[in-house]
Symmetry: C2
Subunit: 343 residues, 2 copies
């Protein structure tokens, strides 16, 4: 029998394949596989459903990731997916698989982080499952939110000429991970060395305890702006720009000089001999939002804090590109995630 | 720092602990942790949400569990939880954690089983997550269903004098597992031996490819019966009877002679020197339904096929008990699951 490695088709290839073999038979299934979350018809609103699984040794390393932070992050990344539909999260269910190296006290630390995130994002933990695992820790969270019909923002809704907007700044979480990995190696080589993390507090915090930009969803609502499309930035900006482009049947043009990178992140990238823009474009785990708005909404958004207008959608460009500071044009490439290659 | 093993407090102790530390803050969170599923207020109906995680080496052994059956089972056990709320499932999301020993073809086998169950139970696969795992396979399914307000059956609704009803028969899945484990040992000792499974086809099938009793939910609706309480039988009948008793503030009396056990299951138990009733009471994984109905519904249910009236709820008995064939009275004990002890 033929054996095809998952690394040959990649994450997005696998999702496309599953989606192509899946038919929706219930009228209440409004939107299925392929966006940040599914939409279920519930009368005057949609229930918005998203799920994410975090596995020890793949998504986190407990030698430097405190369990409380991990619990917080597991909730935040799901809240981020709900937010990316222009929806408000209301409930989560959490399943844990635990090897017997975890004590009750450890699990309570994890739940303390989950509960902290529940308070922060005003979501309720309404159920879950706890089970044993042969090795390591696995956390699966499903978040459920709500959006009034017509207010949902899909990946597919961008229009020609729409403005591309990114919240916050990027590349930081990826660099935070590089710092944690470096300090772990130092510690392994010499356990008397104290990890040097203070200087990189911002980037390390972005990696260990990211925040979902639910604040932006509330603010957009107050400003009377409905993004024509939206996605959260989990796999790096390039990948997300391409998702919106592909799903909307358009190309995107982004301007390198408009890409938001914090000064400390910039310096840290150089310390690692990395290009700060590459960290932003392909690094992942920033959990910022990327969305498009109609040009007619420009006046409404122009005074909004903590956003950058990074480009526009085009029906005439053949490919999605970045215009660099030196006025060259570079095609955007998706790196996706490559867990299968690493493992 | 104090270290308490999870095996000291057990699954139900852990759930109680998490529940006691969890407050619901959203008005839409109608029912949280502690039943077969959560209930979310969606206007004229509740969205019903349940989640289950299956881990390789704990819940299944791929040396005898075909991936297609596993996919089917992962959906069926979640459908069973939705059914146990007297609700109809409509959507699922599925997360997979996969080590690189799994090929694309293997994953497609798993999804073929998921899709078969989706067709059987008329649910739609609307999303999920696929990720790498350091070792083994993990499957997390969240099912979402719908029940008209007022039609939901909770564990807490049983009334004094209500009749306890069990669907189908029990103990079979547990004995199917014993057969599979035995044949695996035979095979490991002598790889030329062909596994003897045909004779035990029914029990092995109940273990590998259980069915959710959604048919019963449709039938109860047609008969105009709303169970006053309901639960699915995943951990063994004794445990489930005690859940209904505890949550309803009553005791249960069940009659040994009314407990449904298939003839082949009975014979198989004896072959293993096991008490067939113990297999039913503590074996688990039967995924039948246990529910209570008002005595006034007795006439409506008396001609229903594939059910057994196994006892009644009592406000006067001090403890939940089984009256044996020899007219002795035995207190019911919950075994719960003991994965943490085994691992």
């Amino acid at each position: 029998m033929k054996r095809t490695e998952l690394s040959e088709i990649g994450e997005f290839g696998l999702i496309d394949r599953i989606k192509s073999q899946t038919a929706l038979q219930n009228g209440s299934s409004h939107l299925g596989i392929g966006d940040d979350a599914a939409l279920i018809d519930a009368g005057d609103h949609y229930q918005v459903v998203s799920t994410d699984m975090l596995m020890e040794g793949i998504h986190f390393d407990l030698s430097y990731c405190p369990l409380k932070h991990l619990g917080y992050k597991a909730v935040a990344v799901n809240v981020s997916d709900i937010a990316a539909m222009n929806a408000i999260p209301e409930q989560i269910v959490v399943s844990l698989a635990l090897s017997n190296r975890f004590s009750l006290e450890a699990i309570e630390e994890l739940y303390a982080g989950i509960q902290l995130a529940c308070e922060k994002y005003k979501v309720d933990l309404v159920g879950g499952d706890t089970t044993a695992s042969r090795s390591g820790l696995g956390i699966s969270v499903t978040a459920i939110g709500r959006v009034e019909k017509g207010k949902e923002s899909l990946r597919s809704g961008a229009q020609n000429g729409d403005i591309l907007v990114m919240t916050g700044a990027g590349g930081s979480a990826y660099l935070g991970l590089q710092v944690l990995e470096r300090e772990k190696q130092v510690y392994l080589e010499n356990p008397n060395m104290k990890p040097q993390l203070e200087k990189y507090e911002y980037e390390v915090g972005r990696q260990l305890k990211p925040e979902a930009r639910l604040d932006i969803i509330h603010e957009l609502k107050e400003l009377g702006i409905k993004p024509t499309s939206m996605i959260d930035i989990s796999d790096g900006l390039a990948s997300e720009v391409l998702h919106i482009s592909k799903n909307s049947g358009l190309s995107a043009v982004i301007f390198q000089k408009e890409l938001p990178i914090e000064k400390s992140t910039w310096e840290l990238a150089l310390e690692f001999n990395l290009d700060p823009y590459t960290c932003l474009l392909n690094g992942g785990e920033d959990y910022e939002l990327l969305f498009t708005i109609s040009q007619s909404d420009h006046d409404k958004i122009k005074n909004m804090a903590d956003i950058s207008l990074i480009g526009y959608m085009s029906a005439t460009e053949e490919r999605s590109v970045m215009r660099t500071r030196s006025e060259t044009v570079v095609e955007l490439k998706a790196q996706g995630w490559t867990h299968f290659n690493k493992s």
